[in-house]
Amino acid sequence: MADHFWISHFLWLVPVVPLLAAGMLSVSGNSRRNRAVILTLGAQILSFILASLLFITVIRAQGGTEEVVRLAVNFTWFEFGDTALRLGLLLDPLNAAMLVMVTFIGLLICIFSVGYMSRDPNFTRFFAFLSLFSAAMLGLLVSNSLLLLFICWELVGLASYLLIGFWYQKPSAAAAAQKAFITTRIGDLGFFLGMIWLYRETGTLLFYDGGAGLLEQAALHGLATGTTIGGLALSTATALLLFCGAMGKSGQFPLHVWLPDAMEGPTPVSALIHAATMVAAGVFLVARAFPLFAATAGPDTVATALIAVTWVGAFTALFAACIAVAQTDIKRILAYSTVSQLGFMMIALGVGGVAAAIFHLIAHAFFKALLFLGAGSVIHGCHDEQDIRKMGGLRRFMPATFATYAIGMMALAGFPFFFSGFWSKEEILHLAQGWPASPIPFYLALAGTFLTAFYMTRQMVYVFFGNYRADQASSEKASESRPHESPPIMTVPLTVLAAGAVLLGLVATPAWPWFHHFIEGGAATLEFGKLFTAGTLGLMLLSIVLVAAGVGAAWFLYARTSLGTAERDPLERKRPGLYRALAQRLYVDEFYDATVIRFHHAAGRAADALDRFVWHGLVMAVSGFSVLLSRASQAVDRRFFNRGFDTGCETLRTSGGRVSRWHTGNIQTYLAYIGAGLVLLIVFFAWIQQA
């Protein structure tokens, strides 16, 4: 590589710096708040600077060539026998862009957390976890080995477990942490199996290794041509197993249940997990392993694995959007919206648009982080109230939060032209429309778009318009419990994120698809004409109409009627059955309770019964028999052996007493023996040689 690639030598520093910060924090006392802030922010800033430099380097290296720049640094971790386990680091446009996004969002969230967590007693611990989380995520991004990726993947899981359960005194938080951990573990099992299978088939876990890597031509060809049970191509089978992991991490149906519950953690954590990092890991995994997924695709055929990805994504997108419509917890709505958006990303990946998926991922990271932090600000301002029914009219009290939140909402809903969300969604819809396998995911995505606009408008109306409703509930302390604007350390990150949510749209419009070319190679040109090609324009119009319809419907339903805490939701008044089903999250949790968990309980009970009756009896019988045997042997012992042994011991003791006189307890005596022995030995050997 060229000289300007020097910065890539520091690639390893990106995850290591936050890891060091985490390590240092984990051994420092809880009272060192300043140190925690300095270390965490310092590490994040350093990572961010490094990531930016890397990003710039990659841009410069790519320089308009068609080839995708890819730099892999591999090294041997350890060797056993002939086999060497090799790990590696990778730098390519995909993870360079992700690195910048993750470090930037992470930095802003850290800044926000300084304000948000300022009064928490476990401040330092929180920042230690946060740093660990960043470190793991960054490690995941830069790894060039499925194994290293898996290690970081699990570290991310661990850190999210720690962070969701940060307020472990709350039973719900502890339960949510466990739920998240176990649910993702189910997906990870698939991942692990897939990984092992891949290693067995290809003998390497490195993605790129100068032609010998997993994702390179030779290996892929072998995988695509081999078949396994049911006629599945090897690549399809392993890809699907890997996809299990991605489903768990990215909250795809049916493993999405942990994600809304994870809202029990502190809000910055929600922002970090649901916006920037953890959920992105699944999408990133699919994007990273995309060649594997797409290995069986021919010029005209669609890869089987990708079909599964598309369908799961599409279903999740619509399904989660539906649930979001009927939620009342501000963070829960956002959580389901995240699930839904992740579905969109999966659609994009499934239909072959890696760049579109990643762009949506990044854009989503910005505005979802913005929304979560805004929600955090709202919660902070409303004295830890999370129920949107008890808010209202906040735009008067919290103008800055309102403005930024509105930007986030419009970006998420896909308001036309000025918001990044619009363009990224447009791209996905465009790709879905052209998918040869089935048109249905496209329609599901359209419905999802409509619902997104609907529920976000609903939330805005509930939270920011109308009157402040908590007053009615507790009027006696109304004056001091008025919502207030958050401090600058919280609103400044919001502003920065809002700016990002708007500006990011510039780099991926159809007119100047710079980002796609950056990810997939090739040079971007500015052509406004592309905006007005028939396909693009029509689709744009269609989605604008859908968004407008969603917003209009929500406005019609919610803004015109007065909302109250005691009253029922307007939608509930109209369609009580549907609303209840949605409010209960379409009974997925209940379904799990009724099936998986009940089966578990039943199995547990069965095992218990088996233990208690069958094995217990068996053990008792065996032990009774051995007691009998031992009685007999005891009798023999006492009569015959003991007597003989006693006399033997007596002899030993007296002789031992004699010998122990040599044992003076003084080292010098012993050393003298050793010296004498040495002399004797040498003389002995000399004598042998003579003889």
Binding site: Q668, A672, G675, A676, L678, V679, I682, A686
Partner: protein, 171 residues
């Protein structure tokens, strides 16, 4: 270095080292023993330098004279040996005789086997000084593991020594 000069240096060093070692093990005032030990270490360092291993020689000075000998003397002060040195008596000599005999026997046995061994009469190959670069390179390549283990050992010894010598708190 010319043969004569080397031989002079060898003789002087032998005198100094063995004299100091003899003093270190036989003097009655223990502080004098410690100081003689330091001198003996200096002599050994001289031998290293004579043998062309300057680096080790100076390391020996730095570690043994600068640290170990001083440490020993510190401990002598901290333990304040019981009373004045005892006067020389034949009784004490008699009790030490077996030990001295064994030590002498060891010396004789080793010396005789050295003297009778033909293969040790060889002279040195050409002057082969220690190249510090080569040494450093070896330390961080082929001997990296011992180096790291030494580091761990020193750390452990440091912590152990501190823990041992720390004053026991009331609780």
């Amino acid at each position: 270095m010319s043969t004569t000069a080397a031989f002079i240096a060898y003789s002087v060093l032998t005198l100094v080292t063995l004299g100091a070692a003899l003093a270190a093990v036989s003097l009655r005032n223990i502080v004098h023993c410690g100081l003689s030990l330091a001198l003996a270490f200096v002599g050994v360092a001289g031998f290293y330098i004579l043998l062309g291993a300057e680096f080790v020689g100076f390391i020996q000075l730095l570690v043994y004279v600068g640290a170990v000998a001083v440490l020993i003397m510190f401990v002598i002060l901290l333990t304040r040996p019981d009373g004045d040195p005892q006067p020389f008596t034949f009784d004490r000599l008699r009790r030490a005789l077996p030990g001295l005999g064994i030590a002498l026997a060891v010396f004789l046995v080793i010396t005789i086997s050295i003297r009778t061994s033909e293969s040790l009469r060889a002279g040195a190959p050409d002057d082969a000084g220690v190249s510090i670069e080569a040494l450093g390179h070896k330390l961080v390549t082929s001997h990296l593991l011992p180096l790291q283990i030494t580091g761990v050992l020193l750390t452990a010894a440091l912590i152990g020594a501190v823990l041992f010598a720390m004053k026991e708190d009331n609780n």
